[in-house]
């Protein structure tokens, strides 16, 4: 009898170290951040929960500009990454002897961190960067100032470029893995029925990979939204992304500002959570009506 009970609890026993760490560090962090943003901050003598910090932050232009800027950058980079990534994944499917390419794509984004990706964008796209130098030699510009500001610009061009560099391989591999598993005979059957290459892609591969493309999109969107290094190193002084704004306020050392900072940080969490919930909802709707 003891043995039976032991079996029942065994998985939880195995999980307990992981759960303890995730509860204390991760959930603890999320919950503490939330309570601090609600003005519960005993260290500062604040113990009355209130929405006032939310109301103040959410109505400030600084926050709203950051929000728009963050969403713009994340959305643009996620859309571009996904389109380009899916395109390359499909091309990759069609050629032979690609193990070395895959290996390269697999390793690159793992080994090169955000900081170095930022540096590389910096070396290429700044006004004194290598692209500007090529432009000069091609006779497109004559002076350094004529080259457009692609880094530290208000459109976040440099930030988006760095995200693309870092995230395209991820999408290529994720989508390629799924494409590879799709039975090749679907394609043969469709072609036999008179479908062209682009029709095969639109009618067969795209619908079948849609869920993983969607997941890839959500993951990179959320990741860009919460990421700090790239927008800090390549972004303009104004507007700043939410993550940079939170960071700047956080290190200001003025502890009375802390609840405002935590509102920004918690807003980031909320946006990502809402996004995932919407995505799951859409996915379940799709699967309900298509199957």
């Amino acid at each position: 009898m003891f043995k039976f009970r032991f079996n029942k609890w065994y998985p939880y026993l195995l999980l307990s170290p992981a759960l303890i760490v995730l509860f204390l560090l991760f959930l603890g962090g999320v919950i503490l951040g939330l309570s601090q943003s609600l003005g519960y901050f005993p260290v500062l003598g604040l113990e009355e929960p209130t929405f006032k910090y939310y109301l103040e932050v959410w109505s400030s232009t600084e926050f709203l500009n950051s929000l728009v800027f963050s969403l713009f950058i994340s959305f643009t980079s996620a859309i571009l990454t996904t389109i380009i990534g899916v395109f390359f994944a499909y091309q990759l499917l069609k050629i032979k002897n690609k193990n070395r390419i895959i290996n390269f794509l697999y390793k690159l984004p793992i080994i090169v961190p955000h900081i170095i990706a930022s540096l590389m964008v910096f070396l290429i796209l700044t006004q004194s960067g290598i692209l500007s130098r090529f432009a000069y030699h091609l006779g497109l510009i004559e002076e350094i100032a004529e080259f457009p500001r692609l880094v530290f610009d208000k459109n976040g061009f440099g930030i988006i470029a760095a995200y693309l560099w870092k995230q395209i391989p991820f999408v290529v591999l994720m989508v390629y893995t799924v494409l590879k598993q799709i039975n090749g005979s679907f394609e043969a059957a469709a072609k036999n029925l008179g479908a062209s290459n682009s029709q095969v892609f639109r009618e067969i591969y795209l619908p079948l990979t849609a869920p993983s493309i969607g997941s890839a999109f959500i993951i990179i969107f959320a990741f860009s939204l919460g990421s700090f290094e790239i927008p800090y190193l390549l972004g303009p002084t104004y507007p700043q992304t939410l993550s940079v704004l939170a960071y700047k306020k956080y290190i200001s050392l003025d502890l009375t500002q802390r609840p405002y900072t935590m509102v920004i940080a918690t807003s980031l969490t909320m946006i990502t959570v809402i996004l995932i919930m919407i995505y799951r909802k859409i996915l379940s709707l799709i699967s309900r009506y298509h199957l």
């Binding site: 029942k8 065994y10 939880y12 026993l13 195995l14 999980l15 170290p17 992981a18 759960l19 995730l22 560090l25 991760f26 959930l27 603890g28 962090g29 999320v30 503490l32 951040g33 939330l34 260290v43 390359f88 091309q91 390419i101 895959i102 390269f104 390793k107 984004p109 793992i110 080994i111 090169v112 961190p113 955000h114 900081i115 170095i116 540096l119 590389m120 070396l123 004194s128 290598i130 130098r133 030699h137 350094i144 560099w165 395209i168 991820f170 994720m174 959320a222 990741f223 919460g226 990421s227 700090f228 290094e229 939170a246 956080y250 900072t261 940080a265 918690t266 980031l268 969490t269 959570v273």
Partner: protein
């Protein structure tokens, strides 16, 4: 058909070039002396950046060692936690498994910045802030999801039959783990290990917030260099970083991992 293939290859090699070219640029900058606009090639080459890097007064080598020590500790602890967790997730069905799965994967999506800012004050109160142990603990947050996921896949693929077989042959729990489970999960263990090490090695923000400027890892030095636009030094440090990560990866792979097993795990 033949033509089409050529055009595909051109596209793909363009992609590869696009991703490899910046690395090349990094290499040239690391050895450049003077390289003013609009020259395409540096006017002079020098090893000044490398001398700066090696000079003990600048603490670069020491910080590299700090990064490696933290990385190894994080890897060890993360794997120790992930082996049983992966076994539970990969082999058993139990009430609440769906919720655990969400909890395990959530740190991939929820910004680590928000989480770290939330727990920082408690780390201070507990005396974990500004210490090695605090930095190691906070690195568990971004690494655990990946390694638990890899170990889950590993155990799913392996099943529990080999362990059952060892059991009926008379092997006790510890013997089964050492003689059967551990050797059989080692490919997954080492891919997880490589990934965890590199994630820890690449951390900047978490180390900065929790380490409070006292724990100087390699990225602590690299970040300001990139931020201030010191291209030559930043390139040198970046190359050292990439080389260190690459050497670690190749070392682990060559010695221990079967290349066919390590693919489908991603990291942005």
């Amino acid at each position: 058909m033949f033509k089409k293939n050529i055009y595909r290859k051109i596209i793909l090699y363009a992609l590869i070039f696009l991703f490899a070219f910046p690395l090349l640029l990094l290499l040239v900058w690391a050895f450049s002396g003077r390289w003013p606009w609009p020259n395409l090639i540096a006017e002079s080459f020098s090893l000044e950046g490398w001398r700066y890097f090696i000079d003990p007064a600048n603490g670069a080598v020491e910080s590299l060692a700090t990064s490696v020590i933290i990385g190894v500790a994080v890897t060890f602890i993360t794997l120790l936690i992930s082996i049983p967790a992966g076994k539970a997730m990969g082999l058993y069905d139990f009430p609440g498994k769906g919720a655990v799965k969400i909890l395990v994967l959530a740190p991939l999506i929820v910004p680590p910045l928000a989480v770290t800012m939330g727990i920082h004050i408690n780390f201070m109160l507990l005396g974990l802030a500004d210490k090695f142990i605090g930095v190691i603990l906070v690195h568990l947050i971004p690494t655990l999801p990946y390694s638990i996921r890899i170990m889950t896949h590993t155990f799913e693929g392996l099943g529990d039959k080999f362990e059952a077989q060892a059991r009926v042959l008379g092997a006790g729990p510890l013997q089964r783990f050492i003689h059967i489970t551990l050797p059989l999960i080692s490919p997954g263990l080492f891919s997880a290990g490589i990934l965890v090490f590199i994630i820890s090695f690449s951390q900047y923000l978490l180390t900065f917030l929790i380490g409070g400027g006292r724990i100087i890892t390699f990225t602590m030095l690299l970040f300001p260099l990139v931020n201030s636009g010191d291209r030559m030094l930043a390139a040198v440090y970046s190359l050292v970083f990439i080389a260190a990560a690459l050497i670690f990866t190749l070392l682990m792979e060559r010695v221990l991992v079967n290349p066919a097993e390590k693919r489908d795990h991603f990291y942005i």
